[in-house]
Amino acid sequence: MTSQMADVIIRASALSKTYSVKEGRARKQVQALRSFDLEVKTGEMFGLIGPDGAGKTTFMRILCGLLLPDSGQVAVLGFDPVTQQHKIKQDIGYMPQRFSLYQDLTVEENLNFFTDIFQVPRQERSARTQRLLEFSRLGPFSKRRAGALSGGMKQKLALSCTLIHTPKLLILDEPTTGVDPVSRGEFWDILGELQQQGVTILVSTPYMDEAARCDRVALTYAGQILALGTPDQIAGQFPHQLVRIFTRQPYDVAAALRQLEILHSVELYGDHVTVALDDPVTVVEIIRKNLDKRGYSYTSIDSGQADLEDTFVYLMRQLSQATQPELGNDLDSHAK
């Protein structure tokens, strides 16, 4: 391995993967990955952001050798996971999206099982198990069956089991989906500690606040990468000015504004509507007039800085309107 190679821990180029899915009686081809290119550098925390069906899980499974790509090249730690799967197994830890430990085994038994099958040296076993129990704050629950743990504790146990062999690369598929906010915070604190210890982390998440904690993120949608860079860089890619209209009638306001062709995009959120536009001074006047004329009230119209989510939603909208116009309406509502 050359020093330049060592810098890149995951390298994927032009990866494609198509599934055949049964839909009623017909079989439908679904493209999970379309010519997917990505490089992850050693030591970084890399986030894959995107809605369900973006291809995040497929990509991770290909990295672990669990799926074969239809075409394209992939290298993990310098090896091909397709043909050299056995060479990377000792160095990667993979946490599937679904809780995949044994529910009828206790915390301790699950940990012991993975200690066994990763063949952790005998003299290190109890030290490592103890450290992981402490690290995951699961010590007091070591005799509890995994099935009886809370969602957050389950995820911490799953993480502990993927850490038992001290992998160099962690691949985590939506580790915090369905976990309460406090546990999510704790989980990400743990990931931060791991990164400081030198572990490279590839993590997928649907949560933008988590994405912001990554060194770099890739925005993925429909098997493609829409944008790639640090969270700030991506937020900076927003090509227009952004204005947020806070209102009690966000749904009506959004519907009204969508008829104004001067606006580049209108996105509906819980308590406000976000609008992409150029030349805010004139356009905001037009918006005000329009809303007043229709009698919609609003508390404020603020021009603001586009964040990661704004950019992502904007890019996603552009792409879906370009390729599948009928899909545009699926993106109408975003919970923030």
Binding site: G65, L66, Q85, S100, L101, Y102, D104, I117, F118
Partner: protein
């Protein structure tokens, strides 16, 4: 090797904590021995017999004594009109009726043959044919005694070997071992491997350094141990409750049983490579292994009387061959020289099935 042990140990914990599989493994042998041993008693005894004696002579009473004196029949009613027979059949009072003609005593002295009528309720065909056989025996005995020796030149002196009392339990219990082993090995293993697929744990193990064959063999070890244990339990229950003998070599039985276990396991593993959910695996195992093992192996129903296509299927089923082996060893004391072809077939079959399933067992998810 250590991987095998850790997977096997984990599997033992699963079994210990799963009430259903525990129940199947521990209670099933006892329950089955009791049920099959007592309830499916195919030895027909005490058949309800009605008699219409139109002769009323010492000779006719002698014949009646032949029937009532045997274990097969129990005299329920003596009738005096022909019409009563059908009435009694309908009321389920009798299963068979013996009609002795009025000229019985004179005919038996003078004529070459004397007709005696036997009416049988054929709604239960199995019992019917047994009644017929029993009556034939009794009548031939009676005709031999009642006539001069010269008139009956041929005489059967039968002797039944290997199961002299013709106890059906001796026939059933060895078969039960085959069925139980099939159930534990094919049904439980296929469910347990499919469960790892269904719950996603397989996805997690496949990214560890464990090899697929280690997963399979490790998961299968506990079931081999338990199935062997169960076979031993059934043998013991059979011996204690019904006096089922062990005429041949127990060691040979153990070795051949392990070969049969392999075939059953191979079937279970094969099922688990096809089935996606535990439910499907269970249905496949029940229909594909349990049912044929019970119906077509000769466990209860004789293979010889089946139509050709079923006989061919029967020949392919592992249980058929194991039944020959286990009955041979337990009842006849057969040794290796007699039984090796059956064991060889089982061995080859399991070899082929295991090869297919290891090829089919996917290291990947799609």
């Amino acid at each position: 090797m250590s991987n095998l042990i850790s997977i096997a140990r984990k599997e033992f914990i699963h079994i210990r904590r799963d009430a259903r599989s525990l129940l199947i493994i521990i209670l099933m042998p006892l329950l089955q021995v009791m049920l099959y041993g007592y309830a499916i008693d195919m030895d027909v005894k005490n058949i309800r017999l009605g008699i219409l004696d139109q002769s009323h002579t010492p000779a006719s009473r002698e014949l009646i004594r032949k029937f009532t004196g045997s274990d097969y029949f129990e005299l329920r009613t003596e009738m005096d009109r022909f019409s009563q027979i059908e009435e009694n059949f309908r009321k389920r009072k009798i299963k068979a009726a013996l009609v002795i003609p009025a000229d019985y005593a004179t005919s038996i002295q003078r004529e070459a043959t004397t007709p005696v009528q036997l009416l049988i309720d054929g709604s239960d065909s199995n019992t019917g044919s047994i009644v017929l056989n029993a009556s034939r025996q009794l009548l031939s005995l009676a005709s031999f005694e009642s006539s001069a020796a010269a008139r009956a030149p041929l005489q059967i002196r039968h002797s039944i070997w290997y199961n002299p009392e013709q106890k059906s339990s001796h026939f059933i219990v060895p078969g039960l071992i085959a069925v139980l082993m099939m159930m534990i090995c094919a049904l439980l293993t296929s469910i347990s491997i499919t469960r790892e697929k269904e719950t996603g744990t397989l996805e997690q193990i496949l990214v560890t350094p464990v090899k697929p064959y280690q997963i399979i063999i490790g998961k299968v070890i506990p079931y081999v141990v338990l199935a062997t244990l169960d076979a031993f339990l059934v043998l013991e229950f059979g011996r204690i409750l019904f006096g089922v003998p062990m005429t041949g070599s127990p060691l040979l039985l153990l070795i051949f049983s392990l070969i049969f276990l392999m075939a059953a396991l191979a079937l279970g593993i094969l099922i688990s490579t096809v089935a996606r959910t535990q439910q499907v695996a269970m249905m496949m195992a029940l229909m594909g292994t349990m049912l044929p093992s019970i119906m077509l192996s000769g466990f209860i129903f004789p293979v010889a009387s089946m139509p050709l296509i079923l006989r061919l299927i029967s020949k392919a089923i592992p249980a058929t061959h194991f039944l020959v082996i286990i009955r041979g060893i337990l009842l006849k004391g057969n040794g290796f020289l007699v039984l090796w072809p059956y064991a060889l077939y089982l061995f080859l079959l399991s070899f082929v099935l295991i090869a297919i399933s290891i090829k089919r067992f996917k290291v990947r998810l799609d």
